[in-house]
């Protein structure tokens, strides 16, 4: 037999979820599937970062993003930070067939206008709105309590901006995330942005 089944390969990469996700990215034969697996990879990296909030609470936006990009690179994903694409986008992930997934990342300062500015950079500056490049992410790092409330308020704020044709849906991968879709300014094609949360809040209540 010159084949190895998925089962045999998964056994080889057992307990290595990053490699399993990498295999899924490699076997993604269309952009939607590829982007979905990129989202899984981003979630996996962010879960690792969520494990030690006390070490990350004081870190700035760029430091956090560089760490995220490094974790993605370790999963063999072609991610770069501060790449020049109509400006300097925080995260650019490239794949086969010129697939792109771009993301802007902001450390939340309880200022939703600040988040909006970041979203509009992604929307109107960095993304092309072309096929194979019309899905991306908006990452919110927060060192405040209850990131679920932050994301809910951010979704409300975005909705209040009444961006033409924008609709919202819940994220099937992660209930702290949500997705917005609206016609891209340049191309009119739907731009899908997944709004992703990382809580680095740390305030243990066990001290006397």
């Amino acid at each position: 037999m010159t084949f190895q089944s998925i089962e045999q390969l998964l056994a080889l990469v057992q307990d290595k979820p990053a490699l399993e996700i990498g295999l899924s990215v490699a076997t993604s034969n269309d952009y939607a599937e590829w982007a979905r697996n990129i989202n899984r990879a981003v979630d996996h990296a962010l879960r690792q970062m969520a494990q030690n909030p006390e070490l990350r609470q004081a870190k700035g936006e760029d430091e956090l993003t560089i760490e995220l990009v490094s974790l993605l690179n370790m999963m063999d994903i072609e991610a770069g930070h501060d790449t020049k694409v109509g400006g300097h986008v925080d995260i650019r992930i490239k794949g086969k067939r010129d697939y792109h997934w771009l993301a802007e990342a902001k450390k939340h300062k309880q200022d939703y206008a600040w988040l909006m500015q970041g979203f509009q950079q992604l929307n109107t500056r960095y993304t092309t709105g072309l096929a194979g490049q019309d899905k991306g992410g908006f990452i919110v790092y927060s060192d405040h309590a209850r990131i679920d409330r932050t994301m809910s308020k951010w979704r409300d704020h975005l909705e209040e901006q009444k961006i033409e044709g924008m609709s919202f849906s819940n994220c099937e991968l992660n209930d702290l995330s949500f997705q917005s879709t609206h016609p891209h300014d340049r191309t009119g094609r739907p731009l899908e942005v997944r709004h992703i949360a990382l809580s680095i809040y740390f305030d243990p209540k066990d001290r006397i």
Binding site: I6, E7, V25, T27, S28, D76, K96
Partner: protein
Amino acid sequence: MPSVEELIREFRERWGDHPSAQLSVAILERLATLPDDQLRMLTFISFKNVLGYPSVDELLIRAVMLLANSSVHALDAKLLFIDDDDAEYELDPAELEDARKEGALAHPVTGALIGDYERKVFPFFVPSDRLIGARAHA
């Protein structure tokens, strides 16, 4: 369309420090010279064999994945489903994704649900249009 040498240079620029980089480059070099009939269905085992590499391990898997997944894009990954009657069907990755969600794969013809589908689905690779173009350069 880049030549194979240019593909290798592009790969080294982006992934030169990767632990699997040497293996990926060795694969590219072999793919440049293999006859067409040996490129129709490349598996992890065929990569192991053409390189004379001891086993299919994490380094080899990552080396192949880099070539399929990165913007170098020398390989296209595909999936083959072989049923109990040894009939072969190429599977769309979305069908595998659905199977993962549902816990069973729908047989492409009969629609019968297959619980142990991961034993019957086999990844394989073919040269991408980029690699075919690069081979034509030589």
